[in-house]
């Protein structure tokens, strides 16, 4: 599903964020990416939706080399990838419903009536159907993150990537969010989560990749793990 081959990333200021990373994540696999701050977790995740491009090496998703994806084709690639952030990146001047509807409107493949049906289904999955008319500022941290997840999955992406999705949440809420990811993984979605909460990811019994100073130090458990 996702293949990194000898991928390196050097930023314009000369900082090497990733050094010669090779990895493979199978379809419908759930993988955690961990490491200290500055280890390269976020950079690695950003390369999947082409927010960043590698300085060397190649990345393929579904056997499609990302290096050949032209600028105007990037939106189509991103529509197949659900992205979740630590700060959820919700649009505060739009309601919960409108935030979740955004990927469907963006894809242009859904009639407004169909959009309503699918948004409510996604909100129902994350347990926030009753908050559809609220604005994000009135939601708790956990609720905001669940709206972010609903937005990421509403378009039924093949891949779900999350960068520190539980970074701002207490342990109970974090476990709840992780269980939600596990549920999506169980219906065939490939899930890649960056987190430095070892206790939390250790309890999930999934493949864990450890990054340190831009290098892949360890790859434990799961289909592609050591």
């Amino acid at each position: 599903m996702i293949q990194f081959s000898n991928v390196s990333k050097r930023y314009a200021n000369g900082f090497d964020a990733l050094k010669d990373i090779s990895l493979h994540i199978a379809k419908a696999e759930m993988v955690f990416l961990t490491g200290h701050s500055g280890a390269g977790k976020s950079t690695l995740l950003k390369m999947i939706p082409l927010i960043e491009r590698p300085s060397a090496g190649s990345i393929t998703i579904d056997e499609r080399p990302l290096v050949r994806v032209k600028r105007r084709k990037i939106p189509a690639l991103r529509r197949d990838i659900g992205v979740i952030f630590q700060d959820s990146k919700l649009l505060n001047e739009r309601t919960v419903f409108d935030n979740v509807a955004l990927p469907l409107l963006v894809s242009g493949a859904h009639h407004p009536r169909e959009v309503g049906r699918r948004v409510r289904a996604a909100l129902d999955k994350v347990g926030l159907l009753q908050r559809e008319n609220d604005f994000p500022v009135y939601l708790s941290g956990g609720e905001r993150q669940r709206v972010g997840i609903a937005r990421a999955v509403v378009n039924r992406p093949k891949v779900l990537i999350a960068d520190e999705p539980t970074g701002n949440l207490d342990p109970a809420l974090s476990r709840e969010i992780m269980l939600l990811f596990e549920q999506f993984n169980q219906v065939g979605v490939t899930v890649l989560i960056a987190s430095h909460d070892l206790e939390l990811i250790g309890a999930m019994d999934k493949r864990i990749m450890v990054l340190s100073k831009g290098r892949l130090l360890a790859d434990q458990g799961g289909l592609g793990g050591a």
Binding site: I51, R78, H111
Partner: protein, 328 residues
């Protein structure tokens, strides 16, 4: 627990692609309608802030529109004068009555002549005395120096400037005629001035249109900057440049349309206010000229060009600024 999505039974591919195209077109127009209405609602919600922009656009469009309306009115007045063009035939001083009768009979038979009016030297002198204020001085003259004048009104089909000039030349060749004069030179000068003013209005209108483009472009640029984070998120979830650009284009179009409507209103108010004094002035010159209302052509121009300038301004601003925003 979530359930895996089951694949639907397949249909023939041609039927599927037809249905798919139809569905996509329906979605496309539905989404356009959605953006159209939401941008209008957004404009309404922040009308206070946007009113200034709309007013500037309205005034910028109203200035050339007002001049255009004035010039077209004056032009139509000139055209009506031109259709009543007359050729004045100053007859030979010693033309006998028989010669005059023969000339009148013959000219009445010409198809290019609509009507004739003869002013005898005596009538001309009387009229001159009344209008010039030189009555006493004219009494001292031994004889009447004025010739008889035949006023020739061309027939309707021969009122074009070229045809009237041809008629004048033909008339001037008659032995009974001393001078054939066509009093259109001043009208031609007026038309020359109107053409010059029209060109000036066109150039000035072009400059003001450019100003409207910049005003709308700058407004959209500020809107893009204020929605920087939103654009970043939309790009992140797969929003194409076209999708992101769409609401800004509709915003530009609304600005232009409301600016055009305001311009129409301003020109109408101006015309209504000036109509009465212009009518009074025209009456003093024996004319029933009036400014009337904004004509259909100007109305259409304002309501089409306003939104068009809005779209162009927004397009240029989004083209330049959206590419610079990328998710990080």
């Amino acid at each position: 627990m979530l359930k895996p999505v089951r694949a639907k039974p397949s249909r023939p591919s041609a039927q599927r692609s037809r249905a798919g195209l139809k569905q996509r077109l329906r979605n496309y127009f539905a989404l356009h309608f959605h953006v159209l209405t939401t941008t209008l609602a957004q404009l309404g919600r922040s009308l206070g802030g946007n009113l200034m922009t709309i007013m500037v656009i309205g005034i910028a469009l109203a200035l050339p529109a007002t001049l255009h309306v004035f010039l077209s009115k004056v032009d139509s007045l000139g055209a009506s004068w031109q259709t009543s063009a007359q050729v004045s035939l100053f007859l030979q001083a010693k033309l006998p009555a028989q010669g005059l009768a023969g000339l009148t009979t013959e000219l009445n038979s010409w198809p290019e002549i609509g009507s004739l009016e003869y002013i005898s030297p005596e009538q001309a002198l009387e009229e001159f005395k009344k209008t010039s204020g030189l009555g006493d001085a004219l009494e001292l003259l031994d004889q009447n120096p004025l010739p008889g004048v035949m006023l020739v009104n061309p027939a309707l089909a021969f009122q074009a400037p070229v045809a009237v000039e041809a008629l004048r030349q033909r008339l001037s060749q008659r032995s009974e005629v001393d001078l054939a004069q066509l009093d259109l030179e001043w009208l031609q000068r007026l038309h020359g001035l109107i053409r010059l003013a029209e060109r000036a209005v066109l150039l000035w209108g072009g400059l003001l249109a450019l100003a409207v483009l910049f005003i709308i472009g700058n407004t959209i640029r500020l809107a893009i900057q204020s929605r920087h984070d939103e654009i970043e998120v939309i790009k992140l979830i797969g929003g194409s440049d076209g999708f992101i650009r769409r609401p800004f284009l509709y915003n530009g179009m609304w600005f232009g349309l409301f600016g055009g409507l305001l311009a129409w209103l301003l020109v109408s108010v101006l015309l209504v206010n000036l109509d009465q004094p212009v009518r009074q002035l025209a009456e003093l010159y024996g004319s029933n000229f009036s400014l009337g209302l904004v004509d259909a052509k100007t109305t259409l121009l304002l309501l089409v060009l306003g939104p068009l300038f809005g779209l162009l301004g927004a397009w240029s601003a989004t083209g330049r600024h959206l590419r610079a925003i990328e998710p990080s």
